[in-house]
């Protein structure tokens, strides 16, 4: 990026502050200080406090005392916690696969030239832009057992005879939540992957085509490897967010029916804030951390492996 050469500076005096900030280290310190302050006070400190809470028996209004790992034993013995843990992993895995596949497909479609392309590109990001709970409320209404538009549609198409209990059937509810999550995430994947696609030199495709590669081979051997770095970053972000998801389940089912759709976050909320058992809630929240760490470390390792290929 070329900028015109700026006019020479006319700085007559340089105060002591300016001089002190000349040193890169000092300047860097001051530039980073506000950030570090906020992150320390509102992330590092609460994290430590959360650990302490989980090792004590505080309940609402009553600060507790240290009880060691008792909370963790309790929650691991709790079958609802185990369900929530299982749900969270499955939920994250399945939605990520679908978001990636559909997002990639959409990105490939958007990578062509067609009339109205910029409009389409702008509109399809809407699910991702609009505050999650608001769009989820619309889905909740669409899934309502008595008034669902999907039921009407399938009924009119003679696919079903009686209603589908989208959010009330324990087996189906998780699936419905996944649908909403995928709906919300596909645009993000699509736009990010599209940007990645656009950095791939079209000459490479032409060269491959000349060498006799068909559509799929071109994709697999040219597009996909070059897209991998962007893909991995997108997946990394998305996995962290999805793993810690709260809003979708809270709005759609509240964790029900009969605790069938709880995730770590919603169960922590129900126990900690709903029932007032703060320490147990903190323990459930913290249980997310090792899993997240593992997932992230694995992904970073994979990214490094891919980059060094």
């Amino acid at each position: 990026m070329e900028a015109s050469k700026p006019a020479p500076f006319q700085f007559v005096s340089r105060g002591p502050i300016s001089r002190a900030l000349e040193r890169e280290g000092t300047l860097a310190f001051w530039l980073l200080a506000p950030t570090l302050l906020i992150l320390t006070v509102f992330i590092a400190y609460p994290f430590v406090l959360g650990v302490w809470l989980s090792l004590s028996n505080s309940t609402v209004g009553e600060p507790g005392h240290f009880i060691g790992l008792a909370n963790f034993y309790k929650i691991f013995a709790d079958s609802i916690f185990r369900t929530a843990a299982y749900n969270t992993f499955v939920y994250t895995a399945i939605t990520t696969v679908f978001k990636l596949a559909l997002g990639l497909w959409l990105a490939l479609l958007l990578n062509r030239h067609f009339r109205g392309k910029s409009w389409v590109r702008a509109f399809i990001l809407l699910p991702f832009i609009i505050p999650t709970v608001l769009s989820t409320l619309a889905w909740k209404w669409m899934f309502d057992p008595t008034f669902s538009v999907f039921n009407w549609l399938f009924w009119k198409l003679h696919i079903i005879n009686s209603r589908i209990n989208w959010l009330g059937d324990p087996d189906l509810a998780m699936g419905s939540i996944m649908i909403v999550n995928v709906w919300r995430g596909v645009p993000f994947y699509a736009i990010s992957l599209l940007a990645g696609l656009q950095t791939i030199n079209p000459d490479l495709h032409e060269a491959a085509a000349i060498d006799g590669a068909n559509r799929f081979q071109r994709f697999w051997y040219v597009t996909w490897p070059l897209l991998l770095p962007v893909t991995m970053v997108v997946v990394l972000f998305s996995v962290i967010q999805t793993f810690a998801d709260f809003q979708l389940v809270y709005v759609l089912t509240g964790g029900g029916p009969a605790n069938a759709t709880h995730l770590f976050a919603t169960y922590a909320y129900q126990i900690g804030i709903g029932t007032g058992l703060l320490s147990e809630g903190a323990a459930i929240s913290l249980a997310m951390f090792p899993a997240l760490l593992l997932v992230v470390v694995f992904q970073l390792w994979y990214i490094r492996k891919v980059e060094n290929r």
């Binding site: 900028a3 050469k5 700026p6 006319q10 700085f11 300016s18 001089r19 900030l21 000349e22 890169e24 860097a28 310190f29 530039l31 980073l32 570090l36 906020i38 509102f42 992330i43 400190y45 609460p46 406090l49 809470l53 959409l106 958007l110 990578n111 067609f114 910029s118 702008a122 509109f123 399809i124 809407l126 699910p127 832009i129 609009i130 505050p131 709970v133 608001l134 769009s135 409320l137 619309a138 209404w141 008034f147 669902s148 009407w152 209603r163 990010s192 940007a195 990645g196 962007v230 997108v234 972000f237 962290i240 810690a244 709260f246 709005v251 922590a268 804030i273 703060l278 997310m288 760490l293």
Partner: protein
């Protein structure tokens, strides 16, 4: 990319899937709009009722919107959320821009470590921290005030702004600062007067992304705020429009729709910047 083959192939492989995606992605919004203007009598018809007509209504009404704006605290929530989002965005931009500059342009001993530290904070999502953070909020006496959110939202906005700006700064040639310094500028002056103006598009992208993320936040707002006058739109709509027996679906959808408008407007004016923000974050 060339599309070989007959016209019908183009329809099958391109227009049809693209159309399907567009319908699937935008249908819920259409549904929101229709529900908002649908009168109550029609709204509460079961799906197997003979007169169920989901896709349009012949008697549009604004009663739900009126109810929402006049009989609930929706307007207050909008103001609250706007204020909180703007304040949090400003703070996060201020911190993120200078932090990004420091990490991208200055060499110092702990650059790598601090960069990683900021990344690591992403591993501590809000749903992990909300319980202990609630205690801290109370101890600082900012519970049930907008400051509880204005000071905590930057925790997830700053890392993102920082990376975005890092990526952006890296694309600006170093020569610019060197020229300014040769001309007599102090280091910080080179940053403020030379680099920042050039980085405005990046700052805009980061700002818009931060703004939409602030509107989207839910659990902190849910846990740290309790009075109805303090609530943000997402929390207010989900908690206050369900009264007794009834989910007021008409007003709920009106609230969802109108609550989405500020973000949609900001987004529409700055689509390019938003997209650049998204792509910048994943490339950086």
């Amino acid at each position: 990319m060339m599309i070989e083959g007959a016209r019908w192939r183009k329809w099958l492989w391109f227009y049809l899937p693209l159309g399907a995606f567009i319908v699937a992605l935008l249908f819920p919004f259409y549904w929101m709009v229709v529900t908002t203007v649908r009168p109550d009598g029609e709204l509460y018809r079961p799906w197997n009722h003979p007169l169920y007509s989901p896709f349009w209504t012949s008697h549009p009404t604004f009663e739900h919107v009126k109810e929402l704006l006049l009989e609930t605290l929706f307007n207050t929530w909008m103001l609250n959320t706007m204020f909180i989002a703007l304040a949090a965005t400003l703070i996060s931009l201020a911190c993120g821009v200078i932090a990004g500059y420091a990490l991208a342009r200055l060499t110092f001993r702990w650059a790598g470590l601090l960069g990683t530290a900021i990344f690591v904070t992403y591993l501590v999502p809000q749903t992990l921290l909300f319980i202990p953070l609630a205690e801290i909020i109370r101890d600082y006496r900012i519970g049930d005030t907008p400051w509880a959110l204005i000071l905590t939202y930057p925790t997830f906005l700053i890392p993102f702004c920082t990376w975005l700006m890092m990526g952006y700064f890296k694309t600006i040639p170093k020569e610019l600062e060197e020229c300014a310094r040769i001309d007599g500028a102090a280091r910080w002056q080179a940053m403020v007067y030379i680099i920042l103006p050039i980085a405005v598009p990046g700052i805009l992208s980061a700002g818009i992304f931060a703004f939409t993320l602030s509107w989207n936040e839910f659990i902190y707002a849910l846990v740290f705020l309790s009075s109805p006058e303090q609530k943000t739109v997402p929390v207010g709509v989900t908690s206050e429009l369900i009264r007794g027996d009834v989910f007021f679906w008409g007003s709920l959808m009106a609230g969802a729709l109108i609550g989405s408008i500020p973000v949609a407007i900001v987004y529409s004016f700055f689509v390019e910047h938003y997209v650049a923000g998204v792509t910048g974050s994943v490339k950086g």
